[in-house]
């Protein structure tokens, strides 16, 4: 088999994996950088 590109299953797995990882990456860093505790620490300073 010389050619297959990304088939439908490939796209689904790629998008699902990348989507989940990107979602959690942004979620975590948003909470770390702009979360409640961080805001409290900034206001204390």
């Amino acid at each position: 088999m010389n050619q297959f590109g990304l088939n439908a299953g490939g796209w689904i797995f790629l998008i699902a994996a990348w989507g989940a990882i990107l979602y959690f990456t942004f979620y975590c860093f948003y909470k770390v950088l702009f979360g409640k505790k961080n805001a409290e620490q900034s206001s204390e300073k």
Partner: protein, 537 residues
């Protein structure tokens, strides 16, 4: 609070983002860029992501929280390694003593790992300079590039490198110089301390790594089909090779074991280094969100960045059949034999080659420093050694124990260390951690410990997972590995008789390091720097 007073004399992280970058640096290593794409491609492509994410949820993230919790707790009692931190989880004096002696594994395993990891890391530093100087340029086939790598390692002789290549041992001069430089950088970072050394390294290395990786990913995406005469050799086919699911694979045990192994390797679980880094936190510092942040940063680097460079570009230049052969040859074949050929075919290849190997070096050094940190913490906290002296002692151990790795590489010395310390040892240590935490310390207190100061609500399902699923998963892994790999490796089945003394040498080295750690723990007890911190509350 007595424990809080004690913790004030220990070093602390200077910032939360610095801690996340240092922990991410600990996790992000050579495996993210070399091991993961090879494992995924060989074990079902996209379908590999099913066992991979299952292992992440049932093993990786729970064990990560367990290790962070034990570390932060240990730090409050002035313990920076498992030898001491484990004892705080026990409910009796005898139990505490046993737990602390088991903690010897949490110093000996990571230092054994660091010994050979530093050598591999030094290859990336060497290849960075070879890319800049164009030393491997002109070598355009894989066999010749492998010969180049082996002559650099001293396994074969060639005109490229001077050194001694013999039946018994090899003394590759250039490789030794780079090994020495790599160890020196590790020692220098460790001697600077937590905030000024490890955290500062992470703040420089991690952003640089991300920038280089993103540039390389963009370059790969814009390659398309490098040779229009061979339209099947394209980046998209590379992504297809990596992502198109082969569901027949995941009905077998192999991809599940490979995925679990990859999760262990990539998150640096079971090395004791997470525990040490977490010991430099304050009692009320969050570990739930911070730990999760480091894990997702690692996954971003591995799946999105690591999965988009080496395999797609290899398919684009070598085609699918040869890329399969490269992947079957292992991660080093991909990183050190295939990639240097590809860089020669790209405009500005020397620059991209240097970026690739510097990226790998940064990934490596942030991990190797972390692997040395449990021993460093023990020398400082329990043996009361000054930081610079402790760093020099670790450097001496890395160099002295690393010399057999360099000289006997061709005899399988490194592979033997890798199996016992870097694979089997990690699972055993993680098993001890989770049993101590969930069953000896008690799941009720363990759950409170994880949630202490938490910035996110940890889903309650993880209480059940940590107590039951993760230990069973680990037992399953140990049984499978024991039967599949452990027994043949233990008996050295199929090994050349000439290599057997060297393999025994590697085993004696690990056992020797464990014995030394046990003796040092006994000495710390005598010195009074390890107490019986038994709580009943």
């Amino acid at each position: 609070m007595k424990d809080l007073e004690k913790s004030q004399s220990r070093e602390l992280w200077a910032s939360r983002i610095g801690l996340i970058l240092a922990m991410a640096g600990n996790a992000i290593g050579l495996g993210n860029f070399l091991r993961f794409p090879v494992q995924a491609a060989k074990n079902g492509g996209g379908a590999f992501m099913i066992p991979y994410f299952v292992a992440l949820l049932l093993l990786g993230i729970p064990l990560m929280w367990v290790e962070w919790s034990i570390g932060r707790r240990g730090g409050q009692f002035h313990y920076g390694s498992a030898a001491g931190a484990f004892g705080t989880l026990a409910r009796s004096r005898v139990g505490s003593r046993i737990a602390n002696y088991l903690g010897a594994l949490g110093i000996a395993i990571p230092i054994s790992f660091a010994i050979y990891y530093n050598y591999i890391e030094s290859w990336t530093l060497a290849y960075s300079s070879f890319s800049i100087t164009g030393k491997y340029f002109g070598i355009l086939d894989r066999d010749s590039m492998l010969t180049f790598l082996q002559s650099f390692q001293g396994i074969t002789s060639s005109a490229h490198f001077s050194g001694i290549t013999g039946e018994v041992l090899a003394i590759p001069f250039v490789a030794l110089i780079f090994f020495f430089i790599t160890i020196s950088i590790n020692v220098w970072v460790l001697s600077r301390g937590v905030a000024e050394g490890i955290e500062r390294l992470a703040k420089i290395a991690m952003p640089t790594l991300f920038i280089f990786a993103i540039i390389l990913v963009i370059r790969v995406f814009t390659l398309g089909t490098p040779d229009p005469a061979q339209p099947e050799n394209s980046v998209m086919n590379g992504f297809g090779y990596l992502w198109n699911p082969d569901f027949s694979q995941i009905t077998k045990a192999k991809p599940w074991l490979a995925a679990a192994g990859q999760i262990f390797f990539t998150l640096s679980i079971g090395t004791g280094s997470i525990l040490t880094y977490a010991s430099y936190m304050k009692r009320r510092d969050d570990i739930a969100l911070t730990g999760l942040s480091t894990s997702v940063t690692n996954e971003f680097t591995e799946v999105i960045l690591g999965g988009s460079i080496a395999i797609p570009v290899a398919v684009a230049f070598f085609g699918l059949t040869e890329t399969r052969a490269i992947a079957d040859g292992g991660a080093f074949n991909l990183g050190f034999a295939a990639m240097p050929i590809i860089f020669q075919k790209l405009p500005l290849g020397q620059m991209f080659g240097a970026m690739w190997f510097i990226l790998l070096f940064f990934a490596g050094i942030t991990s190797s420093v972390a692997l040395c940190s449990p021993a460093m913490a023990f020398l400082q906290d329990q043996l009361k050694m000054k930081r610079q002296k402790a760093a020099l002692v670790i450097g001496a151990v890395l160099l002295l124990c690393g010399l057999p790795v360099v000289m006997f590489l061709g005899h399988g010395f490194l592979d033997e260390l890798d199996f016992w310390a870097g694979t089997f040892g990690l699972v055993v240590f993680a098993m001890i951690e989770v049993i101590l935490f969930a069953w000896i310390f008690g799941m009720k207190r363990a759950w409170a410990e994880i949630n202490e100061g938490a910035d996110i609500r940890v889903p309650k399902i993880f209480k059940f997972i940590i107590q039951f699923i993760t230990p069973v998963y680990l037992i399953g892994l140990l049984v499978f590995w024991g039967v599949q790999d452990g027994i043949p490796i233990l008996l050295m089945s199929g090994k050349d008789a000439a290599h057997i003394p060297y393999l025994w040498g590697a085993r004696f080295m690990i056992v020797g390091l464990i014995v030394v750690c046990i003796l040092l723990i006994a000495y710390a007890y005598k010195k009074g720097t390890i107490h019986h911190e038994v709580e009943n509350s």
